[in-house]
Symmetry: none
Subunit: 217 residues, 2 copies
Amino acid sequence: MEEGRFQNGGGLGVKVMTDEQMEMLRKQISVYATICEQLVEMHKVVSAQQDFAGMGLGNPYCDPLLSSAVHKIGSRQRWTPKPAQLQILEQIFEQCNATPGRQKIKDITRELAQHGQISETNVYNWFQNRRARSKRKQSAVVPNNGESEMETDIESLKEKKTRAEDSQPDENTTPMADHMYFNSPDIGFDQLMGKIESPGPGSCIPYWQMEQYDLFG
Amino acid sequence: MEEGRFQNGGGLGVKVMTDEQMEMLRKQISVYATICEQLVEMHKVVSAQQDFAGMGLGNPYCDPLLSSAVHKIGSRQRWTPKPAQLQILEQIFEQCNATPGRQKIKDITRELAQHGQISETNVYNWFQNRRARSKRKQSAVVPNNGESEMETDIESLKEKKTRAEDSQPDENTTPMADHMYFNSPDIGFDQLMGKIESPGPGSCIPYWQMEQYDLFG
DNA sequence: GTGCTATGAATGAATG
DNA sequence: CATTCATTCATAGCAC
């Protein structure tokens, strides 16, 4: 990717990494965490069914320390505007009901920075969301009166399905891989499972494969 | 951690961490890996027993956690890249940091189609977005100082550490624990992952193994 | 502690 | 390409 270069003065006491690398790491850990969770859940279920077995195994997966530690690493906190910042933002939003330009964003960011940590992206997102939600709310309030109105609000966007040929909502729409975000990293999990799951006879479809069959049926 | 994604209002896009922090991280991951291993083993045993015991259990696994990730079955209209597809896309993007030509798009599409429904437009859009966002992030990280800060010394990086993060709520809570930045090769992620992953050889490499970063430089 | 709501963030797609 | 839109995900905060 981009600048992946850093030169930690060779074994100094510090390492450096880019945002992307950081993000990558976070995801990796997140995946790991989730996989563990899923494994644990799965094991619980399976174990429950075997009243006779596995009791001598102890509980290797109940490590509070571990989970707390990982949570810290694997979770991201999101920016929360401070009252002062919010007030300013709202004020600006009132004036120009549109997303400010890049420069404007910079300015706003700089100003808000005086009240607490904030980034341009935060500001950008804020306006994007603010606008989108403001709009949505508005159109939601007028659903029954002008339901036949084609150009007003919601419907106009709903009918945007112009390129039907492009996005087939069918098979590819694997719900499990929903979003590249790994709070539920299904990826890798099935593969992982593939390793431990070797019952042989395809008598039952393991839940981690279910989705492929039960998508629309 | 989140801060990482963007231009931290003027900060540079890198994070730093001490060896100590690194070590801690590594340990945490190590523990996780071990736990995963144990869980896998355990599951193997349990599963095997189940086989003998008469496995017509149907779908014993109904992990609520998992299903939550699988929700919204029939309600997606836009294409969502699957992990496998994403992995490939990222890989390609890494190579040619530019939008592929028409023919290239076709090829890519064909390849990705093996992993799920997809159209050329999807691919095209993906590259457009990927590039635009990558760019934006980059420029945001290096706003006025066209020169890469990384070129400088570790020393300077250390200094910047104070302001290295951007969207933390702020000064308060866990000032440091939240910033466990990783960069070291000391812990081979791929190897670690390989332990629990081990998919078929030719199969796809899970996204978390994408070694797109030259961490070990 | 369970669930709900508001909202920050991520991202596919559309528009200029 | 650069911006913007629409939609969705995930979580902080709060009610119960």
